[in-house]
């Protein structure tokens, strides 16, 4: 299934599925059983055999990723 992830994935704590951004407003999800699906940034299904997804994880993964963490920031 294309496209390929454009950033490293995050494993969902409950389902074990791995979420990774794969382009603008697209998230690739690989379920624990190996099934995959492509979803948009709020979890709407685009393609693939995987249908169930956590929309909030899609929001997180698809967001413009900001490099600086408020837990480590040196801005002050």
């Amino acid at each position: 299934m294309s496209p390929e992830p454009s950033s490293g994935g995050i494993k969902h704590g409950f389902s074990g599925a791995v979420y990774a951004k794969c382009g603008e407003n697209r998230v690739k999800v690989v379920g624990r059983d190996g099934t995959t699906g492509i979803f948009d940034g709020i979890g709407q299904w685009i393609e693939g055999e995987l249908y169930d997804v956590d929309p909030q994880m899609c929001v997180w993964v698809s967001a413009e990723r900001i490099a600086t963490s408020h837990r480590l920031s040196k801005q002050d």
Partner: protein, 463 residues
């Protein structure tokens, strides 16, 4: 034994989440916090639902205008937003607008934002001035509110005998921790009494007055202001709204305390959510806390035996050492890594310790179905005070991540905001009269509504 309706009183023993508590983690920390910061003050007041009309009805919004916003202490700006004599800001709340101005080196005053001639707003944006001059006919007032100029004074003989009516009416002003508050009620209790001695003592330790606004963003949300506000009044939502944070955030283990008009929620880091079906390692928790994804390296050293709490508190301590000096060594580990969410009734959340976070929630003008949600960082500084950050104004469909100064917190807010509009819409579909709250984890929301009820029941403000 099964509970019966008669068992549902405040005498029913209070249950807390399984697993270690915030207090348990404090016991393990190398650097402890003082005992007065550890006191517990839970809030219990029944099990009733919160009527959904409070979020949906125009009538309730009108009651809030008449009986809440007209008599409550409310955060207007930071003192640094008024750096010079003559600096002023326009503070809007619902359909009301106030001018908040520095009128002397050590004095701030606030006035309803209206010319006493024909009622035009005197100012519509923040700035600096030597007088308040109305752009309509040119009536002018001194910074102190005295009438200074009446154009064509010969035509206003009646004002000569009613001169006291031409002073700008004052609104109560108070300052605390660098925050400027106003209260339109002339009979309001002093701000210090409103905040209470416990909370004032807590914040004395963190010197928020010696910080500056390092980032500030404002976004319009399509929901009632209370829906947005209450999204940040409980940690219960983390397991569903922030699933990437479950491994390291023990939000169900949060401690919730209420001190009069201020509540706080203390959420520990380094405790997995007890709903998780596995136990993450300390390194896994740290990776998630810093959003380190598959194939990426941790940006901080981590060795065998290290813990999230140890690593993040040490990083936080070094981060603040340049501004606080070695005083950071006297601070507790918790103060550098846990969420210290203080909730000041009705709409203000200055986080305690070294989180830097400040939230404010207001109705969007006179519209009860949209609101303005603001996030700021108040950060320490070295040397001269930097100017406060300009506000990044975000529209309803602009992502928080456009405000890059908020760092990764913007990504977190994106998830919270994803819920807010859908709560507003969902409440209209709800086939119940109210929403149900958990007894402990969501008790801050009950407390907020109980206070709101108290304000509503007092009737209109007596001017």
């Amino acid at each position: 034994m099964a509970l019966t309706p008669d068992d549902l009183t405040d005498d029913l023993p209070l249950q807390r989440s399984p697993g270690p508590t915030w207090q348990d983690k404090l016991d393990e920390d190398v650097n402890k916090i003082p005992e007065y910061l550890r006191t517990e003050s839970p809030y219990l007041n029944g099990f009733e639902d919160i009527p959904k009309d409070r979020y949906l009805s125009r009538e309730f919004h009108e009651l809030e205008k008449e009986r809440l916003w007209s008599r409550v202490w409310q955060f207007a700006c930071r003192e640094e937003h008024l750096p010079e004599v003559g600096s002023y800001i326009v503070y809007d709340i619902a359909d009301q607008s106030y001018l908040v101005a520095r009128v002397a080196e050590d004095e701030i005053k606030a006035y309803p934002n209206a010319c006493l001639h024909r009622g035009r707003m005197l100012k519509t944006y923040d700035g600096r001035c030597s007088e308040f001059r109305c752009p309509f006919h040119g009536f002018a007032w001194t910074l102190d509110g005295d009438i200074k100029h009446i154009p064509a004074e010969w035509d206003f003989p009646h004002l000569e005998v009613r001169s006291e009516e031409m002073m700008l009416p004052e609104v109560r002003v108070g300052t605390w921790a660098g925050f400027v508050f106003i209260n339109p009620d002339p009979n309001a209790e002093p701000l210090e009494d409103f905040l209470g001695p416990e909370v004032i003592k807590h914040f004395e330790r963190w010197n928020l007055q010696d910080r500056y606004v390092a980032a500030h963003a404002s976004k319009i949300i399509r929901c009632n202001w209370k829906i947005a506000n209450e999204s940040f009044c409980e940690g219960f939502h983390v397991n569903a709204t922030h699933p990437q944070g479950m491994s390291y955030t023990g939000d169900p283990q949060s401690q919730i305390d209420v001190y009069g008009n201020v509540a706080r929620q203390l959420s520990p880091k380094g405790i997995p959510c007890p709903l998780l079906p596995y136990t993450p390692t300390e390194e896994e928790m740290l990776r998630d806390a810093l959003d380190v994804r598959e194939g990426e390296d941790l940006p901080v050293p981590f060795e065998e035996g290290d813990t999230l709490r140890g690593v993040l508190s040490a990083a936080g301590r070094e981060r603040f050492r340049p501004t606080f000096g070695d005083g950071v060594d006297q601070m507790g580990d918790s103060e550098f890594l846990d969420a210290w969410v203080y909730v000041v009734h009705p709409n203000f959340q200055p986080w305690g310790a070294f989180n830097r976070i400040v939230y404010r929630f207001r109705p969007n003008g006179d519209d009860h179905e949209t609101c303005i949600f603001e996030m700021m960082y108040v950060a320490p500084f070295s040397g001269d005070r930097p100017p406060p950050a300009e506000v990044v104004h975000l529209g309803v469909d602009d992502p928080w991540t456009d405000a890059t100064g908020l760092e990764k917190l913007a990504m977190v807010a994106e998830q919270d905001t994803f819920n807010m509009e859908q709560v507003q819409r969902g409440l209209k579909n709800l086939r119940r009269e109210g929403v149900t709250l958990s007894r402990y984890q969501e008790s801050t929301i009950r407390w907020k509504h109980d206070l709101l009820t108290d304000y509503i029941n007092r009737g209109p403000v007596q001017l």
